[in-house]
Amino acid sequence: MWEYSEIVKEHFLHPKNVGEMKDATCVGEVGSIACGDALKLFLKIEDGTIKDASFQTFGCASAIASSSALTELVKGKTVDEALKISNKDIAAALGGLPKEKMHCSVMGQEALEAAIKSWRGEKVDSVEHSEGEIVCECFGVTDHQILEAVRENDLKTVEDVTYYTKAGGGCAKCHEKIAELIAQARGEAAPAPEPAPKKLTNIQRMRMIEDVLEKEIRPQLQLDGGDIELADIEGLVVSVTLRGHCVGCPASQATVHGTVERTLREKVDPEIQVREV
């Protein structure tokens, strides 16, 4: 059982500003049902000031409480003031969060940023955090997000990063990369070694691709109830079809471009591109 503060409990049991705002000036959306929490933040901005805020949240008690506290925090603030609100401010307004739940406060801060960006007319990609490269494929967390969370909250361990961003909370494959990012953000740079490129004939390459797909990638996907089929190989472009649980899985893009492409690049050729057909 989580040890929630009285303020968290109050915001969860009696959330403030719940619901869709029909005349919102802008909306910020983060998260998804697949990852277990999602927040839709509605803001009404007049003359550069946030006049009203409301939310809809899918998630646990602390996610709902964080959203409720966030709407209270931003009301009456100018847009510039609101942009200065950090995830730490949200957690503080709740009388603290269990560290395992800090990602809820991060989600609040990100929704706020997304809403304001859309109000300013900046492009908000359908894929959140399109800046940077995805590090954690399970939860779709980028290196930018991890670096920001480490700097903002002075995080020291991979576990901390998981609590704040969810990165590394799934299959744990990215733990090494997260450790490198922590070192980078904290100024303890650890350069990654460059693998030496190999020169292959077309036939060799095709055989190797088939081999790696069959022996390494398929068994891995099958563990999660998914599967993959090789559709075509044209030079360095590999076309695949996802099957089983991979179909419609929100992480399937991460699977194609992450797991599949990365494994093929590692084992066969660093210039391979994978496409889903």
Binding site: G36, A63, G225
Partner: protein
């Protein structure tokens, strides 16, 4: 929580039955003797322990000397699997399922990762059932042990252990079953089964925590996990937990007497609860096969909302249940059992497990049926996901942006 809790979490743990408590109490105080002692003060405790062993053997349909008392279900599982591997050092393959309890699953992953064993994790279908064909195909001369749970703790789905054991035995392979959730709820007669080892846990059948047992078929090659004194005929060293062993004996007698109730009254209450909720709450679904299931367990998913939030609102009303959602486990992913069944994420995060016992009353069931739907409604009002709508966010983006 107040004493008037409506306890629907009996697959997590059960209350100690009053008759069990009565039986065990003297062994905490005046009857503290060590059964290994030569004096009659200790020896008399040994005699009571023998009776407890006989009672448990009576519940399982085995001989008393086939029972080893342990500290918990996890110890029994670990002992069984490690014993099979140590006794057959030339065999390097283990077969288990993707939906086992961590006591088996984490051990297998550990053996795979750090000791180089090959492990086959059998999948389940959308109703949580195994494919026996797949099991058969996974067996080889290299297979040291097949470890398959009797009933699933999260969904209550029952695997056909008699059939599975027969198949495994016919190939000359050792068969272990984690029957922690099955003992006391299902009729088990080991004499008629090809099961070689069976694990059980006291606190799931109204005995206290800290006591378990492992059934080991006579003449089965066996290697102890704890090595030391001669207790349990050298098969599990360490001074016996006499108090809890006496308690487990009493609990086994009570379980045997109440077995018909589990399958009539408890089952009827479970069905009433389940049907009541599924009928009233839209976008809810049952997880697990409707028939091949423990009589006390119901795992229901409520779409568009998250399990921890449901549990906390239930808690406010004094209702104790559990969830397979990510947030409740401290991990970030929903239950491995529901994922193995391919339960969509939209449902997996909102799963609630109600597990009843012979102490559950009809009033309690009615109270839950009355109070759950408004809770679901409250949380759905907060949720951005709505009935009939598809996910408003692009489902093809990475699983989580937060």
């Amino acid at each position: 929580m107040s004493a008037s809790v409506i306890y629907m979490d009996n697959n997590a743990t059960t209350r100690v039955a009053p008759e069990v408590l009565d039986a065990m109490l003297p062994f905490f105080s005046e009857r503290y003797g060590n059964p290994s002692s030569m004096h009659s003060f200790g020896g008399a405790v040994g005699k009571e322990m023998r009776e407890a062993r006989e009672s448990l053997a009576g519940l399982l349909g085995c001989a008393p000397d086939e029972i080893i008392f342990t500290s918990c279900g996890t110890e029994s599982d670990n002992t069984a699997i490690r014993s099979a591997l140590t006794a057959q050092p030339e065999k390097r393959h283990i077969v288990t399922t993707r939906v086992e309890h961590p006591a088996v699953l984490s051990l297998c992953k550990f053996l795979e990762r750090s000791q180089g064993y090959r492990v086959t994790y059998l999948g389940v279908d959308s109703e949580g059932r195994l494919d026996l064909q797949e099991l058969e195909e996974s067996l080889s001369d290299d297979t040291a042990i097949v470890s398959i749970m009797w009933a699933n703790n999260e969904t209550g789905v029952i695997f056909p252990i008699p059939e599975i054991a027969k198949l495994v035995k016919s190939r000359g392979i050792m068969m272990h079953t984690d029957a922690v959730q099955a003992v006391g709820k299902l009729d088990i007669n080991l004499q008629e089964l090809d099961v070689d080892m069976l694990s059980l846990s006291g606190h799931k059948l109204h005995a206290p925590k800290g006591i378990g047992a492992l059934y080991v078929r006579r003449k089965l090659p066996y290697r102890p996990f704890l090595i030391g004194g001669h207790q349990e005929h050298g098969r599990r060293a360490g001074t016996e937990n006499t108090t809890s062993i006496i308690a487990l004996g009493a609990a086994a007698r009570a379980a045997k007497a109440h077995l018909p109730i589990e399958n009539t009254r408890v089952r009827a209450l479970r069905d009433k609860l389940e049907n009541g909720l599924l009928a009233v709450v839209p976008d809810s679904r049952l997880n697990g096969h409707k028939q091949d299931r423990l009589p006390n367990t119901s795992n229901i998913s409520f779409k568009y909302i998250e399990g921890e939030a449901i549990l906390l609102l239930l808690d406010q009303l004094g209702i104790a249940a559990s969830s397979g959602s990510a947030c409740t486990s401290g991990s970030l992913e929903p239950s491995h059992v529901l994922r193995a069944m391919g339960v969509p994420f939209t449902f997996a995060h909102g799963s609630i497990r109600f597990s009843l016992s012979r102490y559950t009353t009809e009033e309690e069931v009615d109270y839950v049926i009355k109070n759950v739907p408004p809770i679901i409604e409250t949380l759905r009002k907060i949720s951005p996901y709505k009935q009939g709508e598809t996910e408003p966010l692009d489902p093809r983006k990475p699983a989580c942006g937060c």
